[in-house]
Amino acid sequence: MRIITTIWYREFLNYIRDRARIISSLVMSFTMLFVFTFALGNFDTSALGVKSIQYLLPGIIATTTFMTSISNALSVVEDKSDGFMKEFLVSPASRTSIAIGKILGSATSALIQGSIILAASPLFGMKYDLFMILGLIGGMIAISLSISSIGLFIASFVKSTMGFQMIVQMLMMPMMFLSGAYVPVSLLPDFLRVIVYINPVTYAVSAFRHLALDTTNISEKVLEKMGLILRIGNFQIKPLLSISIILVIGTIFLLLAVRSFKNVSINKVALKRGMH
């Protein structure tokens, strides 16, 4: 346990000191928000009886948390390339604890990042109550832990920071845009919907929207049309199931990441050799 908190502590220190990273991620999220609310305004949310911000913002919180989580594992690749990983790997600390500490560290910064958007959202006209806030925070925790595990899994076998960034870019764009957050799923052709349904971000976006709206007086048909309830064939996926799906995907990748991290060879970490 002490190892986990130690690793977490280091990740946290590095996160709060890296202002450029915090700011660039926030700028990206707010840009999305502006583009989609004011410029495009594609979403007709009248059926839900709310302003479009109430519908769009949860999706942006979900994708921000997602983006931060997946790119955080870059720190693992950096540790490998600048040698610090050796310090961890030769210590008596267990690899599993190190991996979990890394995931918690990454999830914490993603949670903070998502919470900043949430906290700023009333400025854009978002309305919420305590129950909504707690629900969204719970959802953010689930997605940040799961996606951080995916990130660690990728980072455990990637050798260079460049390689990691390329893989993440490759995953990030489709996962963000095929999640229903910015483009309604109903507008997508069938072959792309397959990707939508295996994408964990889809479930996060759907669940987050559901959590951020009062749905008591709205018919299931409308909820389905708006993507608040997902339907695959005859099967309905409601928020609780969505969060569960995210957690299952997360658990699978957590196990994969821990296993893969255990096999990281210390010698391969030594990329920078001394001068001779």
């Binding site: 002490r2 190892i3 130690t6 502590y9 280091r10 220190l13 590095n14 000191r17 890296d18 600048d82 040698g83 610090f84 050796k86 310090e87 961890f88 790997l89 030769v90 210590s91 008596p92 600390a93 060879s265 210390i266 010698n267 030594a270 920078k272 050799r273 001394g274 001068m275 001779h276």
Partner: protein, 317 residues
């Protein structure tokens, strides 16, 4: 220095390596290596790059596994008691392994927790190890602001945080300027003296090897010589007497006729390989030889010569 070692041999060996072999897919990195390291000594592991130095030190530090043989560190098996061994050793790698975005204190704190140092002892140990490497005033500075030599010193301090019994240093002074090198040696010798710490280092600097209590020379995966630097030089190298004369050829013939030593002419300098006491030769030669000689000097053997004589190539090759 090693008085008492004979009496109590097994107890004083902090590292025991027996018939160590390490094979990689396509080559044999270490072939049947055996040696012991005494408690509290500075042990130097010498050899050119690619000789098997790093492989051996990595096996000793539990970083890589061995193919055959036995290695014990303070009585613990490096293969089966990995965590026990890891707690007993401090490792200073060849490459930088600090988190430069953190302060010195934070780097040391994280290390202490990874090695399970009691929380209420951590702060005092941080002050203690920083004192040793004279970095106390930079405790709360970010490591990124440190010079190369300071980073190395901080790494040594970090290696000491959990009070290891053996400190391993892989090429500790490579790439550092001469002044920093001598500082590092000052700290290492102080540790040895004041804390009775065993220091195991690899190097290809022969002048550093001279400081060691015992050395082993490794070449192509095998130990080709071991002993104290003085023993090795006496056994495996020669003093060279060097001078000039008015007529080199005549002088060389005179030496060949009267002494059993090999003589060479190199750029008009006469070199005599003296296999016993060089002063005896010099006094006798000056008495007997009536012609003028100039610039006479006795060149003491270095470990470079030892290495050259055993392996036939220079350590830097």
């Amino acid at each position: 220095m090693s008085i008492g070692v004979e009496r109590n041999e097994n107890m004083s060996h902090i590292i025991e390596v027996k018939n160590l072999v390490k094979n990689y897919k396509d080559h044999k990195a270490v072939r049947n290596v055996s040696f012991n390291v005494n408690k509290g000594e500075v042990f130097g592991f010498l050899g050119p790059n690619g000789a098997g130095k790093s492989t051996t030190i990595n096996i000793l530090c539990t970083i890589i596994s061995l193919s055959k043989g036995e290695v014990y560190l303070d009585g613990k098996d490096v293969l089966t008691e990995q965590d026990e061994v890891r707690k007993k050793i401090g490792i200073i790698f060849q490459e930088r392994t600090l988190d430069e975005r953190l302060t010195a204190r934070e780097n040391l704190l994280i290390h202490a927790r990874l090695y399970d140092v009691k929380e209420n002892e951590i702060e005092s140990r941080i002050d203690e190890v920083l004192e040793i490497v004279e970095l106390s005033d930079r405790k709360n500075d970010f490591v990124s602001s440190y010079s190369g030599g300071m980073k190395r010193r901080l790494e040594i301090a970090r290696g000491l945080m959990h009070y290891p019994k053996v400190l391993f240093l892989d090429e500790p002074t490579t790439g550092l300027d001469p002044q920093t090198r001598s500082y590092i040696w000052k700290y290492l010798l102080r540790l040895k003296k004041e804390h009775d710490m065993t220091i195991f280092l690899t190097t290809h600097y022969m002048d550093e090897a001279e400081i060691c209590d015992n050395i082993a020379i490794i070449d192509e995966g095998e130990i080709v010589a071991k002993g104290t630097p003085i023993e090795l030089k006496e056994k495996l190298a020669y003093n060279v007497v060097k001078f000039k004369s008015d007529n080199s050829e005549e002088t060389i013939n005179f030496i060949r006729d009267n002494y059993p030593y090999e003589v060479f002419n190199k750029n008009d300098e006469i070199l005599v390989k003296v296999t016993d006491l060089p002063t005896d030769f010099v006094t006798s030669f000056i008495r007997e030889y009536k012609e003028n000689i100039y610039h006479l000097e006795i060149k003491r053997p270095t470990l470079d010569d030892v290495f050259m004589n055993i392996t036939g190539h220079n350590i830097r090759d």
